[in-house]
């Protein structure tokens, strides 16, 4: 908390800076350059409503400060260009300790085309994230299905 105050503070409490770094590394490893075009579906660990906002921004699916009204407009709904959490996400099921693995499993089902009613049409590349603690540990994984 105290590290995010004063002139030496690099980040705002509202931003998920370490998550952004984890996702950026996963994107680099996977060769993702333009996540808005290349990520077909994202399963983001968002155990509270406010986290989904900054997680979407950390994944660079929109610009900083834009996630709120884009969510409100339904831009990340199933059936739209870039669905976020078509599984329902973590708000509706958060089995602590395996939640992030469930994100990966959901992303895998998507890119394999086995996600059933929550399938994103033609999903080939997916992002899955996980968080531990409170702004402490982050993980991100990009999954790509076969052609």
């Amino acid at each position: 908390m105290g590290d995010r105050m004063g002139p030496a503070a690099e980040h705002d409490h509202a931003d998920a800076d370490a998550l952004a770094e984890a996702i950026a590394r996963a994107y680099r490893q996977a060769g993702i350059q333009d996540p808005r075009r290349e990520i077909d579906v994202a399963e983001l660990y968002a155990p509270f409503s406010n986290i989904e906002l900054h997680a979407i921004e950390a994944a660079r699916l929109c610009d900083k400060g834009q996630a709120g009204w884009l969510l409100e407009k339904g831009e990340f709904h199933l059936g739209r260009r870039q669905p976020v959490n078509p599984s329902g996400g973590v708000l509706c099921a958060n089995p602590i300790a395996v939640t992030a693995m469930v994100r990966v499993a959901e992303a895998a089902l998507q890119v394999m085309g086995h996600a059933g009613e929550r399938q994103v049409d033609g999903a080939r590349t997916a992002l899955a994230t996980g968080i531990g603690g409170d702004h402490q540990f982050y993980g991100a994984m990009v999954l790509r299905g076969g052609s």
């Binding site: 908390m1 105290g2 590290d3 105050m5 004063g6 002139p7 030496a8 690099e10």
Partner: protein
């Protein structure tokens, strides 16, 4: 809304015993001499207070101890009006202050202001106001050895 809520009495007697670690122990030991010690990161040069043995921004061990000045500014605060078990009788102020040669803010109680009228007190407090560290007469090497008070500029 006028019906009083029921208060259920329970007793959870949880005794904690945990190691403060090398860095924390040195910090607590210095409190006994009424000194506040931070650690400087060799990479970003930030002085971390409370001190940490590792800079989580640069991912390098910190090494150099830096004595932190006793004056600084208020960064964040709240006036607590509710009674919590094990904490002081309300009202009291919990504050983050950034001391002059530290780069991070540290939490503790803020005393030395009249809280008779909580709203008026909250309005008198302001982020950026000068504060100073005050130590108790006989420090024991605990966070409660010191607190913040408004400082005269």
């Amino acid at each position: 809304m006028s019906e009083p809520v029921i208060v259920i009495e329970q007793r959870w007697d949880i005794h904690y015993r945990h190691a403060a670690g090398e860095t924390g122990s040195h910090f607590f030991r210095a409190l006994r001499d009424k000194r506040l010690l931070g650690r400087r990161c060799p990479a970003c040069r930030r002085v971390l207070l409370p001190p940490r043995g590792f800079c989580d921004r640069c991912f390098v061990p910190t090494g150099e101890w830096v004595e932190v000045e006793s004056e600084g500014v208020l960064e964040a605060f709240t006036v607590v009006a509710q009674k919590f078990t094990g904490l002081p009788d309300p009202p009291y102020v919990v504050a983050y202050a950034r001391l002059r040669n530290a780069d991070t803010a540290m939490v503790n109680y803020l005393r030395g202001i009249d809280l008779g009228d909580v709203r008026a007190a909250a309005q008198r407090l302001a982020i950026g106001m000068p504060v100073r560290v005050v130590f108790r007469d006989r420090p024991e090497g605990r966070m409660t050895d010191f607190w913040f008070e408004p400082a005269q500029r």
